[in-house]
Symmetry: C2
Amino acid sequence: MHLADTQLFRGLQEEEIKTLLECLNAFKRNYKKGEIILSDGSVTENIGIVLSGMALISCNDIWGNTSILGNAAPGSVFAEVYACIPGQPLLVTVAAAEDTCILFINARRILTTCTKACPIHARLARNLLTVCAYKSLQLSQRILHTSSKSIRGRLMSYFSECAKRAGSNSFQLPYNRQQLADYLNVDRSTMSNELSKMQKEGLLTYKKNHILLKI
Amino acid sequence: MHLADTQLFRGLQEEEIKTLLECLNAFKRNYKKGEIILSDGSVTENIGIVLSGMALISCNDIWGNTSILGNAAPGSVFAEVYACIPGQPLLVTVAAAEDTCILFINARRILTTCTKACPIHARLARNLLTVCAYKSLQLSQRILHTSSKSIRGRLMSYFSECAKRAGSNSFQLPYNRQQLADYLNVDRSTMSNELSKMQKEGLLTYKKNHILLKI
DNA sequence: CTCCTTTTGTTGTTATAACAACGGATTTAT
DNA sequence: ATAAATCCGTTGTTATAACAACAAAAGGAG
């Protein structure tokens, strides 16, 4: 994982990043599959960056129902919202979907370190803003995909985004069925049923996680 | 509306703000009730700040169903997500819920103006980040409130946030019934029905937009 | 390969949310 | 003050999503 290729460090040289990380007291930690990285209710000043593996971001209501908000693949950032609002306890839980390595950076230090002395800091702060904005957009998208009253509508809304992103009618789902159902906030078996109906009606074909939309 | 009291300009003096606004070429515009401020699909580099009135942020799916994402009262900021991601077209529509005055500031100028020369710019950029983070949190909250499968669960989830925010079991709703139903992504009449059931069962009492939670 | 676990698909039943239609209440305009 | 337009609650019907239970398929470990 080259940090220079990530959204957060875009525009910075590897050398600059190295200096920056030392200056900001960044640190790495490894997690086993299933292990909790950050818990609902805790407070953190740290931004997390996935170096390898996969982090799953989910939330639980008071009855214990789990709702998946998204996943963080290598290079992507999580908890930046909480790290950027001092004292705000997490409303989500972040867990390792597989063996995962995380880099933590203290957000307060990014924001309060004198930007006059170090233009690289300013760039990092700007990147952080863009990352935050993208995150908002992702949440907006999920709200969009769950705004239809019907399961079919939700699937179509989500698939249409996938297709746009892939630049093709054919794409791979990043979730298994249960996770997709959680993301769209519907029942898995009912969704499975709807998917096969849609296939029978010729709207799409699928095999495992690969979807092909017929226009 | 004193800009110094807003999240975006927190920590700045009125004098500093005045200089800043000139330097950033900020401008004001007035809108009549119902008038569109920003349309779905358009691209903007401008952050909007509500000076007076109320802006309603909503999105429409391809079948024309409207879903309310939130409202922006005086002092709050909107479209900052889009302004912070160059070229990203709006996925929402912003309209004036009543006669409204908006201040627009170019986000690119906030980000690219040399921060060495002007520490006030750096502060504004930092505030913008916090505002963005708050916005994300609001979206997360809505996702939380619509994660229950039942209307009652959604209402309770939302009301519990309202109560927490008000610091009391008794609070005022910022939406009318149709808007609340749109926010929670449910049918208005069914929701009305559920509300009166909940009142009959003694879970709460309500009169117009005022809610009192029992317990 | 075989057993075991996990994931996915299928079916039928039941609960419930959407929808349509309407009357009364409240607000706004004239 | 009256009329018009919204907004809100109610009812009954219908569509559909949740749920439960199980079967089939896929994936992993020994």
